[in-house]
Symmetry: C2
C-alpha cells in the first residue's frame, strides 16, 4: 500500500523519494524533510500526503481507520524526538498543524498553532516553562486560531474580547497584559465558543483538536478564495493539499526568542544580500499579520531605511550568524534563492520552512545571470529559472525619472512597476470600473483574500498597513501588479468614499500614480518611459536564442507594431491580418462600397480604390521587416463586420455612395449571419468573390517588387489563405494567387520569391492535412478558430460558462489562453504529421494567441513546429519559452 504519512526530523528516515516529491507531501512537507536530511534544525513532525486530502474531500470528509493508525504512529515519533507526550498534563507536547500544497498559495490556506493545549496541559506548560504568561498567551492564541480556522467562528469576537480586557485594565498594548489577564481572557473565549456553538464547549480532548485541525486543513483546499486563487494562477483543482504536523517551537518565550521570515537574496531587485523581517518575542503569524511593525534583519538595511529598532544582526548576533550560515547552505543545496521561516526559541534557531522564493521578474533575471557568474548554475538552468510570463513586467513602461512628481506620501516598495489610475476603495468597484476600460488603483487599509478579484482588476495596489511580506505585497508580486504597502499616511473614509494621503484630501475617482520600485505615491498621472531591454535581460535573451530550436515571429499589421516586435527580437511576421487595414477611416467607405456592390463590376470598381492603399501598407511593412519572412493572410472576417451599425454611419454612407439609406439597411440585413464565425468568411470570400483576393495578391506582389526595386533586402511574402477545409479550395485560390503573381511580374519585368500556404484552423483541415499539403508550402495553425470549432465554443460567447467550467475543472485552463493539448493538440499533431508525410519540407508555424503562451509553446516544440508567432509584447516571452521548451525536450 502507498505510504500516506511521512515523518521527518529526529531519527526519522528521509530516504523515500516520494517524501521529497512536492506533489505527494506538498512544498512545505517536502522541504522540511529535505532540510532535516541535510542536518538543519527542523522541529520533528510528520506530513499527511496530498493524496489523502483528495480522498478525504471525495469521500465526504471522513478519515479512514488506516489514516488514524498512521497518524498515531507518527505522533509517537514526535513524542520520542522531543521527549514529551501529546496531552500530557505534566509536560505537554504541542504541535502546529499547517497546510502545504504542491504549489505555494500564500495566504490561501489555514494554520493552527499551539495545538494540544487545554485547561490541564496549559498548567503543565506554565510549570515546565516557568512562564505563566507565555503558557496562557499560547493557550489564548490557540483557542482564537482554532475557533477561527476549525470551528469557523468570527475572529472579531475574540479580538473584541481582548480589546475590552485591555480597556478594562487601562492597557494600550498586548505586552502589558499579564498572565492572570490572559487566563481570564481564555475563560471569556471559552464562553464565547460555547455560546456560538449552541452549548458545545471548546474541545478539551487533544486528539479531537488534532483531527479537527487536520480536517480543516483538508477542507481549506475547497474554499471559495482558494478556488479563485487557483483559477487566477492556473493551478489545477485536483492536486489537494498536504498537512504538516510539527512539534511547536516558541518564538514568544521572552526576549531571547524571536520569529522571522527571510529571503536569501533581495526578491525585489535580485541583489545578493539577505533580506527579511523579524520580531522579538512573537509567533510566526505576528510578522505576516502586520499588527506589529517588524524589524529589519540586517544592519545595512536598517540603516538604509533609517529605522530605529535594532536589526537581528545587532540584537541577536549569534542566532543571526547561525541563520546566515543556514542561508548559504540552503542556496548551495537548492541552487536557488530561498524564502524561509524561522523561529528562535531561547537562543536556539529552528527552521520552519524553506522554499524557492518568489521574486520580481527583474530579480529573477538578475539572480539567474548572477548565479551563472557565481558558478552556482549553468546557462541552461538560468534559462529555465526565469518564468517567461514574468518578463511581461519588464516589457512595459516605468515612470520617467525626470518627470515632475507631486508626491503625496510613501510606503513600502512592495512590488515593482509603475501604475496610474483612478482611486477605488473596494474590490468590487475596482472590477466594475476596470470592466469599463478604466485604469484603477485599489486603495485598502490592508488586503485579504476576498480582495483578489479587485487586485487583479487594478493597475496597482496601495495599502495603509502591512509589510513587505503582507498579503497585499505577496499577491501583488505574484500578479505582476505594482504595490505600495504599509503607507501609514493613508487614511480611508469608506462611508464618504474619500481618503487622506499625507496632508491632501482625495476622493474615489481621483487619479494617483504608484511607484512600486520606490514606494512613492504621487497625485495625478506621471509620464512613463519605455523599458530598458539590455543588461541582464539582454544576456538571458541571448542565451535563450542560443538554445532554442523554434523561430519566433510576430502577429503585426502596422509598421509601429512591426518595429516594436523587431526591437523585441521577432524574426519575421507570422500573421499580418489584412482586414485590420480595411477599418482605416480613409478606406472603410470603399470597403463598404465593395460589399454593397450588386455585381463583380461594382466590386472591382471599389477594389481599385483599395489597391494603392493596400500596396503602400504592404510596402511599408516589407521595408520595416528588412527581408524577414512576412506571412500575409488574405481577407478573413465576414463582410458584414465592415458594415455600419449606427444610423449616422448609414446616413454618411448613403450620402457618399448616393444610395438610399433603406436600401443600405436592407442590404446590411441581408448580410446578417446567425453564426458569423461559421459563415461566409475566410477563403469562402475568395471563392465567391475572387476579385477581392486578386486585388490583395496584386497589392502584395506590387509592393514586394517595389521594395525590392528600391534596393531593400529581397522580400519573400508568404501568402496565407484562411479557413481552408478542403484541398480544392486551396487549389483554386493558389492558382489565383499564382496567376496574379505571374501577371504582376510580367508587368513589372521583375520577380520576387513567394510562398502560398494556408491556415489550419478547422478540424476538417487538420484531418485532411495530407491532401491539403499537396497545395500548400506552409501551414500556420490558427489555434483560436481551431479551438472554437473543435470545442464548439465561441470565444465571444464563452464568458457565460467558461469561468464556471474552469472552476469545476472541466477545463484545467482557459483553452483560449493555453492550448487544449488533449483535444485541439491532437488535431495539431495529426495535421503536422500528415502534412509532412506529403511534403517533407512543409513549413509549420502557429499564429493563434497560443503562440505567446509558454505552456502552449512547449507543446509546439514537442510537435516539431518550425516557429511560433506572438503579439509584439509577447515576443521575448516566446523566445524564452521556446528555449525552455527546447531544453526540456532534450
Amino acid at each position: 500500500m502507498t505510504q500516506t504519512v511521512y515523518t521527518f526530523g529526529g531519527d526519522a528516515p528521509h530516504n523515500d523519494p516520494r517524501q521529497r516529491d512536492k506533489t505527494v507531501t506538498g512544498g512545505k512537507g517536502a522541504n522540511l524533510a529535505e532540510m532535516a536530511s541535510i542536518g538543519l534544525p527542523v522541529p520533528p513532525g510528520f506530513t499527511i500526503t496530498t493524496e489523502e486530502s483528495v480522498r478525504y474531500l471525495e469521500h465526504g470528509a471522513a478519515f479512514s481507520d488506516e489514516l488514524r493508525a498512521h497518524v498515531a504512529d507518527a505522533l509517537a515519533h514526535i513524542e520520542r524526538a522531543v521527549g514529551k507526550s501529546f496531552g500530557d498534563a505534566a509536560d505537554p507536547m504541542l504541535v502546529s498543524v499547517r497546510s502545504g500544497a504542491a504549489v505555494s498559495m500564500p495566504g490561501m490556506m489555514d494554520t493552527v498553532l499551539n495545538l494540544g493545549l487545554n485547561d490541564e496541559t496549559v498548567e503543565g506548560l506554565a510549570r515546565v516553562s516557568g512562564d505563566d504568561r507565555f503558557a496562557w498567551d499560547s493557550y489564548r492564541r490557540f483557542v482564537q486560531m482554532y475557533s477561527d480556522v476549525v470551528l469557523g467562528l468570527d475572529h472579531g469576537l475574540f479580538e473584541e474580547a481582548v480589546e475590552i480586557a485591555k480597556e478594562d485594565n487601562g492597557y494600550f498594548t498586548d505586552t502589558e497584559i499579564t498572565a492572570e489577564n490572559w487566563r481570564a481572557i481564555v475563560d471569556e473565549f471559552k464562553q464565547i465558543v460555547k455560546a456560538e456553538r449552541g452549548g458545545e464547549p471548546f474541545p478539551q480532548d487533544v486528539h479531537e483538536q488534532l483531527w479537527g485541525a487536520i480536517g480543516a486543513v483538508f477542507a481549506s483546499w475547497d474554499t471559495e478564495r482558494a478556488k479563485i486563487y487557483r483559477r487566477l494562477n492556473s493551478i489545477p483543482h485536483d492536486m489537494g493539499t498536504a498537512v504538516n504536523v510539527q512539534a511547536m517551537v516558541f518564538g514568544n518565550m521572552g526576549d531571547t526568542s524571536a520569529t522571522g521570515v527571510a529571503f536569501t537574496r533581495d526578491p525585489s531587485t535580485g541583489e545578493r544580500s539577505y533580506y527579511g523581517e523579524w520580531l522579538v518575542n512573537a509567533q510566526g503569524e505576528d510578522v505576516v499579520a502586520g499588527i506589529r511593525t517588524p524589524q529589519y534583519l540586517t544592519k545595512a538595511r536598517r540603516e538604509a531605511a533609517g529605522a530605529e529598532k535594532p536589526s537581528m544582526e545587532e540584537a541577536m548576533p549569534a542566532a543571526y550568524e547561525e541563520l546566515a550560515r543556514v542561508f548559504d547552505l540552503l542556496e548551495k543545496h537548492y541552487k536557488d534563492m530561498q524564502d524561509i521561516e524561522f523561529t528562535v526559541q531561547e537562543g536556539k534557531l529552528w527552521m520552519l520552512q524553506t522554499r524557492t522564493g518568489k521574486r520580481t521578474a527583474k530579480a529573477a533575471l538578475k539572480m539567474a545571470v548572477d548565479m551563472v557568474d557565481e558558478g552556482l548554475i549553468d546557462e541552461k538552468t538560468a534559462i529555465l529559472r526565469v518564468d517567461p510570463m514574468a518578463l511581461d513586467q519588464l516589457l512595459h513602461p516605468t515612470l520617467d525619472p525626470d518627470a515632475p512628481r507631486d508626491e503625496l506620501a510613501s510606503g513600502l516598495p512592495a512590488s515593482p512597476g509603475a501604475a496610474s489610475g483612478k482611486i477605488v476603495l473596494d474590490a468590487d468597484t475596482a472590477e466594475l470600473w476596470a470592466n469599463r476600460e478604466e485604469d484603477v488603483v485599489l486603495v485598502r487599509v490592508e488586503t485579504s483574500p476576498e480582495d483578489i478579484h479587485g487586485m487583479h482588476a487594478a493597475r496597482g495596489i496601495l495599502t495603509a498597513r502591512g509589510g513587505m511580506t503582507s498579503h497585499a505585497a505577496v499577491v501583488a508580486r505574484g500578479m505582476g501588479r505594482p504595490c505600495v504597502s504599509g503607507a501609514s499616511a493613508v487614511s480611508i473614509n469608506l462611508k464618504e468614499r474619500t481618503l487622506r494621503i499625507g496632508k491632501r484630501e482625495l476622493k474615489e475617482g481621483d487619479v494617483i500614480t504608484l511607484d512600486g520600485a520606490t514606494g512613492q505615491i504621487m497625485a495625478g498621472r506621471v509620464p512613463t518611459i519605455e523599458p530598458e531591454l539590455a543588461g541582464d535581460f539582454g544576456v538571458l535573451m541571448e542565451w535563450a536564442d542560443k538554445h532554442r530550436r523554434m523561430g519566433v515571429r510576430t502577429n503585426a499589421e502596422t509598421p509601429e507594431d512591426c518595429k516594436t516586435a523587431r526591437g523585441f527580437g521577432a524574426e519575421g511576421i507570422g500573421l499580418c491580418r489584412t482586414e485590420h487595414m480595411f477599418f482605416d477611416a480613409g478606406r472603410i467607405l470603399a470597403v463598404r462600397q465593395m460589399i454593397l456592390a450588386d455585381d463583380e463590376a461594382g466590386r472591382r470598381k471599389a477594389l481599385e480604390k483599395l489597391l494603392p492603399e493596400q500596396r503602400s501598407d504592404f510596402a511599408e511593412i516589407f521595408r520595416t521587416m528588412h527581408g524577414l519572412p512576412c506571412t500575409i493572410r488574405l481577407l478573413d472576417p465576414p463582410l458584414h463586420e465592415f458594415m455600419p451599425s449606427r444610423d449616422e454611419e448609414f446616413e454618411e454612407l448613403s450620402a457618399s455612395l448616393d444610395v438610399d439609406v433603406e436600401h443600405l439597411k436592407r442590404r446590411a440585413g441581408e448580410l446578417h449571419e446567425f453564426n458569423p464565425m461559421l459563415g461566409h468568411r475566410g477563403c469562402r470570400l475568395g471563392i465567391t468573390f475572387p476579385e477581392i483576393y486578386e486585388m490583395q495578391a496584386r497589392a502584395i506582389f506590387e509592393a514586394a517588387c517595389e521594395v525590392t526595386a528600391e534596393g531593400g533586402d529581397p522580400v519573400v511574402p508568404e501568402v496565407m489563405i484562411p479557413l481552408v477545409a478542403t484541398r480544392k479550395e486551396l487549389q483554386i485560390l493558389r492558382k489565383l494567387v499564382n496567376d496574379t503573381a505571374a501577371q504582376v511580374f510580367a508587368e513589372k519585368g521583375a520577380e520576387v520569391e513567394y510562398l502560398v500556404g494556408t491556415m489550419i484552423e478547422l478540424p476538417r483541415a487538420a484531418l485532411m492535412a495530407g491532401e491539403i499539403a499537396e497545395e500548400a508550402l506552409f501551414f500556420s495553425f490558427g489555434t483560436n478558430d481551431l479551438t472554437q470549432t473543435a470545442l464548439g465554443v465561441s470565444r465571444d460567447d464563452a464568458g457565460r460558462f467558461l469561468s464556471p467550467y474552469v472552476d469545476k475543472g472541466i477545463y484545467a485552463r482557459d483553452p483560449f489562453v493555453t492550448l487544449d493539448v488533449d483535444g485541439v493538440g491532437q488535431l495539431v499533431e495529426i495535421a503536422a504529421e500528415r502534412g509532412r508525410a506529403t511534403r517533407a519540407d512543409l513549413k509549420l508555424g502557429i499564429c493563434g494567441e497560443h503562440g505567446g503562451d509558454p505552456e502552449s509553446i512547449a507543446f509546439c516544440e514537442k510537435v516539431g513546429l518550425d516557429y511560433v508567432s506572438a503579439s509584439p509584447y509577447r515576443v521575448p516571452i516566446a523566445r524564452l519559452a521556446a528555449a525552455q521548451a527546447a531544453l526540456r525536450s532534450r
Copy 2:
C-alpha cells in the same frame, strides 16, 4: 499506357473489362460493347474514354497526338467492318457522334448524326442508296445538327429556312419536300452558316467535322445545364463523358426503315409488357423531338389507347418479332428492365443503345418483386434494385396526376408530398385555424424555431426564402410535412394579410395546393391519392428487414410522429428533442419565466410548472413506443431561442409575469449571442443550471415508472446529454441523472432500467471518445453539429456559398445532406473505434439528418454502428438503405 479508345462491333474484341466499365466508357459505350459481345446487331464503332474528356477539359481543350492516332485506327476498324471509307466521295461511310457519361443525363448531352457528309460525299450517298431525297435530307439534317451542337449557331435560323421553303412551295409537311428542295435548302443552310461565322464556311473536311464533334461532346460536360442537372441529381462533376463514334444506320430509307425507343416493361407501373414508340422512315431524334406523333409498339397498347396508326407489331411483324426476341434476351442478360433505342434499316434491326431503364418508385418495387417471382433475380438483388430515396414518393399522399392544375409559381421541392389548405401567414393563426379543423398551409418569408407549432399545425409549408436545407425544409422533412421553399415569386404583405404569388394577388384564407415533390404551387385544391404501403412495398420491406444488420429508429417527439414512425417500422426512438415540447403555446410562458429568473430559486419555481407537462409528454411517448428503446436528449438549444422577438409577445409576457417590458427586453438582449451555435447551449446549460436537467431527468423517470406501473411494456429510457466535449461534463451530468433516478425510484418504490449516454457532435468529443466512453453507455452521432464544427460551416448561413461550393466541386454533395465521409467520417470512425476500445459493448447510433440518407447509411454500416435514426417518413428509406449497405458490405 492506359487504353483511351475502344472499338466495338464487327471483328472488334470485347474482352478488356475496362471496356464494359461505365466509369471508363460511359453507360452507352459499355452497353454497346456488351450487346456486341453477346451477338446482338450493333453498328460498328468506337468509344473514347471518359478519362480523355477530363484530360481535354483540364488541358485547355486540346487533343493529344496519341488520341488522334488511336482515333484514326478505330475509324479504320469501322471502315473495315462496313466496307466503306470515311470521306469517300464514291461510297462514303457516315458516323454518329454521341456523348455517354457513366451516369445517364437524359437531354443534357449532345449528339451529331450523319457526320461525314459534304458537297461531294452527299452525291456518293445518293448514288449508292439510289435515293437522292434520302441523301440530301441526311445532309441537311447533318448541317443543322452540326451547326447547332458544334458551331453553336441558333437552330431557329435553320428551322425558319425550312419553313420558308415549305411556304414558297406550298407544302404542309416535311415529307412533301423533294430532293431538289432539300438540295436548295442545304445551299441556304450553308449561306446561313457562312454569314453567322463571319465568312467561315461550313467545314467540308470530314476529319475536321469529326474532331469538331468530339470536342463539342467533351465540352458539353461543362455546360451550365449539365452542371445544374448534376447538382440536382448529386452527380460528381469530375467524372467526364465518353464519346461514341458509330457507323450510321438509317431509319429514314423509306417505308421499310424505322426508328424507335422502348422499355422491356412499363416504366410507370412496372407491368410486364413491352412499352415504346416508333416512327416509320425517320431518324432517332424525330421520335424524341416530338415533331411527328410516334406510334405505339404493340397492338394491345394501340388498341387500349384507341389510336389509328398501326403499331410496329402490325406494320413490321418480322422486325417486331426480332425486336421482341432481343428484348427477352436483354432482360435475361442484364436481369433488369432495359430502356433501348433501335433503328430498322431496310428491314434489318440495329440496336443503338440499351441501358437499365429509369422507372417510377412504384414500378421499381413491382419489377423487383416480380423478377424474384419470375426467378430472374434473388431477394438480395431485388433489395439492391430499388433506390431508397425513390420510396419517398410512395410514402406521402400525392396529387392526382390526372387532375387539372392551376399553377401559380414554383420553388424548391424541399419536402415531398402534397398539401392543400387555406393560406395562413403566421404560426399562431395556423394553430388557431387548425384547431378549428381547417386545413391550412403556412406561408412565411422564412421560418424560425418559433414557428414550429404552426408548422406542425399546417398541412404544408411554403417559404419565399431558404434552400433545401433551410430551417423550413429540414423541419418539414422531419415532420413529414410537404414543403416548397425558396419560392422567390412569393411576396407577403403581413400588414394587409395579403400575398402575391407570381402574377396573382391572394389573401389569407385563400386555398392553395403545394406539390412538395416538384415544388409547384397551385391555386385552389387539387385532389390527392393516398399511398399504398402494402403489397409490393410490404414484401420488399420484409426482405430488407431480413437482410439488414443495423437497427432503424426514428427522430420524433410527439405521439403522432411516434405513431407514424412505428407504422413505418421504426424500432425505437433515436432522438427525442425535449426542447420542441418547450415551444408549446401552453408552456412557453413558464419556459420564459425560467429563463428570466434572477436565481436558482426562481428557475426552480418555473421548472415546477414544466415538470408535470414534460412528464405527461414522456409518458405518452413511452406508451406509444410499447417498450421499444427511447433516447431522450436533454435541453439543447441556447435559451434565447425561447425568448419572444415581437413587441406583442414581450407585452404579453410582461403582463403575465408582471415584469417590466424594458427589463424583459434588456434581459433578452443580455442573452443574445454572437454565435449561438457555439454558445451557451447543450450540456453547458446542464452544468450552469443543473436544475433544468434535474427537472427533465425527473420527468423521464417519473413517466417511466408510471407507464411501467400501468402494466405497459417495461420502458428503458436512454438519457442523452448533448454537446459534450469533455469526460468531466458527462461525469458531472451523469451523476446528476443517476442521483435523480435514485431519488425518484426511492419515492415511487419502483425502479426502471435506463442508460445514460451522450451525443458525439463536437470534434473534441470524437477525439476524446476513449475517455468519454468511460462515462457513457451509448454514443449517438449528432452529425449535423459535427459537420458544422468540423467544416466550420453554419448550416443557417451556408446558403450564400454552399451552392457555388458544390458547383465548383469543392464538396461533391451538400455535406448537410450526405455525410462528408472524408472529413467528418474520420471523426465518426475515430470515435467509434476509441469508444469501443474503452467499452466493448458501447451502443453506437446516428441521429443527425444523415441517418435518413442512404449514402450516409452505407457509411454507418461500414463503421459498424448499431443503428441509424431517421425522421418518421424516412424510416422505410433507412430500412431499405441499411439492408443494401449490409448486402454490399458482405
